[in-house]
């Protein structure tokens, strides 16, 4: 526990601190820019784009070595990865637009081919003498071992730019994600906006290569957004909640992995995000599973109670055990099924309300109001006391409900 707390409080050493801050920033950038990926349903495209970074890393390394460099400059490797990722993205877009192939086929083809080429290049590099300690495999699943200050700076600068661009473009991107045809009719260039969105995602992928790796980065982009969806019905909030979830996962995940020697950072971050996702799925108010179950049960009880009272009013026998149990619990019927005093009074009230509704439908022209009849809404919520008094005048004196 102590190591974990130390890591949480950034007391676990210089490297761990760099990693935690970097991971939090990366998580925020990935979460917020990934929100549009989720809203536009392009998660798999980003997976292909992430895999398409690998050949770029290899090519950049070979180029830098052949130019006499050491080949390990992070900026150089990331630039290389961005180039092939962009080519992969354009290729997917081109295949989908120009051929009859569906996007999923294009994604599969590009992902497989680019990743394959990348692995071949990595293998070749490992057999080169200069590549012995290149450590390029770290880009697959991420590695924090030799994280430098400048690596953290790359993440901080790139991540901030990505968040800024997301904020700036939130309206066009929302419009395109929700209703691209309308966006086009308004004069937005849908294709450009889509490319821009994927460009943002690609940028986050590239800066996240070192920390999380290309295989798991898609999880960092998507899980926070899916999690955020459980907490809100509004797209602009999805963006920032996703950012917060991503940032928290990055920070907590980095702290966890720093607290024990053999815990890989990238996968742990993803697992933390998944944990937050599961918690949200279960416990989020309104949209969570538990809330939905409770709401459904409450609603069911209301319906049964109401139906039971209507049966009492009409002096029909109540056959459903659940209904009877509810009425008995509320003291509306006795154990032998005979209505109590309160039960009779409430039944009379409800029967009268039903007849008031009938009158309301006849005399009221406003369908907006009479349309609110659903068998459950109390009539007092819809009409004023004066209106109800008017209905009563038309109804005549209340009839007593029998049952005694």
């Amino acid at each position: 526990m102590q190591p974990f707390l130390n890591a949480l409080l950034l007391q676990a050493g210089y490297n761990a601190t760099l990693v935690a801050v970097g991971a939090a920033l990366l998580g925020f950038a990935a979460g917020s820019s990934g929100a549009f990926l989720f809203l536009r349903k392009r998660a798999l495209v980003s997976d292909a784009v992430a895999h398409a970074t690998l050949p770029g890393v290899g090519i950049a390394f070979i180029l830098m070595v052949s130019l006499g460099g050491e080949g390990r400059s992070l900026i150089g490797l990331l630039l290389g990865s961005a180039v092939t990722a962009w080519i992969g993205l354009l290729l997917i877009e081109w295949i989908t637009r120009r051929t009859r192939l569906a996007e999923d086929a294009a994604i599969g083809a590009v992902l497989g081919v680019f990743f394959g080429v990348g692995i071949v290049l990595l293998t070749i590099i490992q057999s080169m003498s200069a590549g012995r300690q290149a450590g390029l495999e770290g880009f697959l699943l991420g590695s924090t071992a030799g994280m430098l200050f400048q690596d953290a700076v790359v993440i901080a600068v790139g991540g901030s730019l990505a968040v800024l661009a997301t904020w700036l473009m939130r309206r066009p991107m929302t419009l395109v994600a929700f209703d691209s045809e309308y966006a086009a009719a308004m004069g937005y260039d849908v294709r450009r906006i889509d490319l821009l969105m994927m460009g943002l995602v690609m940028a986050v992928t590239v800066i996240g290569l070192k920390l999380v790796g290309l295989i798991l980065i898609v999880a960092m982009l998507i899980i926070p957004a899916v999690t955020a969806r459980f907490w809100t019905e509004r797209s602009n909030r999805v963006i920032w909640i996703a950012g917060a979830v991503g940032g928290a996962s990055g920070y907590l995940g980095a702290a966890f992995s720093a607290s024990a020697p053999a815990l890989p950072t990238g996968p742990i971050i993803v697992l933390v995000a998944a944990g937050i996702f599961v918690l949200s799925l279960l416990f989020a108010p309104v949209r969570g599973v538990l809330a939905a179950v409770i709401r459904h049960r409450r609603f069911q009880a209301r319906v049964h109670r109401r139906q039971g009272l209507l049966s009492l009013a009409a002096q029909h026998p109540i056959r459903e055990a659940y209904t009877l149990r509810l009425l008995r619990r509320d003291g509306l019927v006795r154990a032998d099924g005979v209505p109590t005093q309160t039960g009779r009074a409430q039944a009379a009230k409800i029967a009268r309300d039903e007849r008031r509704w009938d009158v309301a439908r006849e005399v009221h022209q406003d369908v907006g109001l009479t349309g609110r009849y659903d068998g459950l809404t109390p009539i007092e919520d819809v009409f004023t006391a004066d209106e109800i008094a008017d209905f009563d005048r038309r109804l005549g004196p209340p009839a007593a409900v029998g049952g005694a």
Partner: protein, 267 residues
């Protein structure tokens, strides 16, 4: 049904180049078979125009291609005398069946505010005045009570009205509507037509795809008949005739039905 008061009169020579919407030689094709072939059309100002034709005639295609939602193979489109790209802010569009993700995290009022996105641009915040305007547009289509619902939790007719409110929010000069009355009940149809009449009275031009031939005379001033090619166009009185309908629908409308429609003119 008798013609409504306030029907526009046609000047002898309408200045075509300044018309709200002029389409010249537009051809659109999905694959090898043109859905719209070399169509010319001109829709008048301060009027309600109907685009009429059978299913698959290319009505929606013509609207979408005019707006640039789908590419044109040929032809040009002018809006108030300008190329359409320069007059975007003056057009509002209500699609036939909005192809949206109904589970999208957006509320009814958010959707209406989307109509304002071009106006506010990237940086500015939505002002209180604009929010009030969005609510007013919702109110005009009778959907103010639903402002905070998630968009998927509405019936089809209610969704249609929200998309109309989104177009109203744009405060455009030309409204392109693709079957605004499809799947709405009689009271709602009445409410929508009232909204449209009000726009017309405010000097706006409206172009609407319309299927119900029995209400054409009541609602519209101008008709454009299409079946892949242009069949006829002009004021309802002269262009909405049995012969033209026959030419548009072919043998698919019984002759007696057509006669009824064009006899019910009440002029």
């Amino acid at each position: 049904m008798a013609a409504q008061d306030g029907r526009v009169t046609y000047p002898a020579v309408a200045s075509v180049s300044d018309a709200p919407l002029t389409v010249r030689g537009v051809t659109v094709s999905y694959g090898e078979k043109p859905a719209v072939f070399s169509v010319d059309a001109s829709f008048p100002a301060k009027a309600m125009s109907a685009i009429i034709g059978p299913n698959g005639a290319g009505k929606s295609t013509l609207l979408k291609a005019s707006l640039g939602v789908i590419p044109r193979l040929s032809g040009e489109v002018h809006v108030f005398g300008q190329p359409i790209e320069q007059a975007r802010d003056r057009i509002a569009y209500v699609p036939q069946r909005a192809s949206v993700d109904w589970d999208f995290p957006t509320t009814v009022v958010d959707v209406v505010q989307m109509g304002l996105y071009r106006k506010i641009g990237l940086l500015r915040r939505l002002s209180g005045q604009m929010k009030a305007w969005a609510l007013e547009c919702l109110d005009r289509v009778g959907m103010a009570d639903f402002a905070d619902r998630q968009i998927g939790q509405l019936s089809g007719g209610q969704q249609q009205r929200v998309f109309l409110a989104r177009a109203l929010a744009q405060d455009a000069d030309l409204y392109l509507l693709d079957e605004p009355f499809a799947g709405v009940d009689a009271a709602t149809e009445r409410a929508i037509i009232d909204v449209l009449e009000l726009l017309k009275a405010g000097g706006k031009a409206l172009v609407s795809v319309h299927h119900d031939l029995s209400t054409v005379r009541e609602y519209f001033d101008h008709v454009f008949l299409i079946n892949v090619r242009r069949i006829a166009e002009g004021p309802v009185e002269t262009a909405f005739t049995t012969e033209n309908l026959q030419a548009t629908y072919g043998g698919r409308l019984a002759a007696t039905h057509l006669d009824e429609l064009s006899l019910a003119r009440g002029v």
